[in-house]
């Protein structure tokens, strides 16, 4: 059974958190727009032209009054999409790492499996231009998350995910910054969501490498998670 593009795509919302992504966001929106009409960009108080460029490219743009972090931007986008009656919510990176062709496959597998969310996995799929050190760092992060959440996953820091409205509504992201990736997984375990992992392609360009997470960010994420655990 093939994914039905006409009947389903209008209920799918693509959520793109963006912080100073003016250089890339128009291309990303154009690519996404070839398949999905509902695109919401959350401009996390960028100092560049992100909002204007994104709006010109045809996306709905929400802007945080000050910088809150990617997790907070995702949550804002999810709440907006739900308020517009979204059936499925896709989180998509603004730096051009993700490919929109992967999303219909994820939606299809989500439908077929009856799961609550689909997670993209670059280690089941392919990566273009990923450095060896980044691969190792991501593998280590995955191992850490496997141990702390008990979930069998191959790639836990992939921003490409598809949520059903039910799962998105129950998941309340409180980690404003980068630890939200692990928070989503903790939410999966807590709410007993079913998930499927779908192979996707991640392309590392010079642009995305520059914008992406660095090695020290891993420590920041780790600290946020420890703090969250102590305080929850």
């Amino acid at each position: 059974m093939l994914y039905d593009p006409i009947n389903l795509q209008k209920d799918v919302w693509i959520v793109i958190p963006a912080y100073n992504e003016g250089g890339m966001i128009a291309d990303v929106i154009a690519e996404v727009g070839t398949m999905f009409p509902n695109i919401i960009v959350i401009d996390d108080a960028s100092s560049d032209e992100t909002s204007m460029v994104a709006r010109k490219a045809g996306a709905t743009v929400l802007r945080h009054p000050f910088n809150l972090g990617q997790g907070a931007a995702l949550q804002t986008g999810i709440e907006f999409a739900l308020s517009r009656g979204a059936n499925h919510i896709v989180t998509f990176d603004a730096d051009g790492q993700h490919h929109i062709e992967d999303v219909p496959v994820m939606l299809e597998q989500l439908e077929q499996s009856g799961a609550d969310l689909a997670l993209g996995s670059r280690f089941l799929g392919t990566t273009v231009g990923m450095s060896q050190s980044r691969g190792l760092l991501l593998k280590a992060a995955t191992l850490f998350t496997q141990i702390t959440t008990g979930l069998k996953l191959t790639d836990c820091h992939n921003g490409l995910r598809v949520f059903t409205a039910k799962a998105a509504g129950q998941l309340n992201l409180r980690q404003n910054r980068m630890a939200h990736a692990s928070e989503i997984l903790a939410g999966i375990r807590k709410n007993r969501f079913d998930f499927v992992e779908v192979p996707v392609t991640i392309t590392y360009s010079d642009y995305s490498k520059e914008k992406g997470q660095t090695f020290t960010d891993a420590f920041v994420i780790f600290r946020d998670l420890i703090a969250a655990r102590l305080l929850s």
Binding site: S51, L62, R63, H64, P65, L68, T76, E79, A227, L231
Partner: protein, 113 residues
């Protein structure tokens, strides 16, 4: 004697502040009140610290005071951290609410022309 007077004055400022809190935060107020009272006691009867220290198995009174101080500081830091987190969550909610307002940017643009 000079040190004792200065310390007493310092503690008295704290006491004044605690009283000025009025009826808010009853637990915090009582806690701080006890801390100040213990402070007065130890300032004017330093040998008391030795007695208390001996009771709980610490060699010197000064050590007891330092340990209590460290414990108190850690507790306060934790308390402040939680408070800050609460504040930042409230701020996030507020910011999100602002961002989710209908047509935040389009409306003024139309009006200005």
């Amino acid at each position: 004697m000079i040190a004792q007077i200065i310390l007493t004055l310092g503690l008295s400022v704290c006491l004044f502040y605690i009283i000025s809190l009025g009826k808010s935060l009853p637990l915090v107020r009582i806690g701080l009140f006890l801390v100040v009272l213990t402070g007065y006691l130890f300032i004017w009867f330093p040998e008391m610290t030795n007695i208390f220290a001996g009771l709980v198995g610490i060699g010197r009174g000064a050590d007891l005071v330092i340990y209590l101080w460290i414990l108190l500081s850690l507790f306060l830091i934790l308390k402040l951290h939680i408070k800050l987190r609460e504040q930042s969550e409230a701020l996030t909610t507020l910011a999100r609410h602002l961002a989710l307002r209908p047509d935040p940017d389009e409306q003024p643009a139309k009006n200005s022309k």
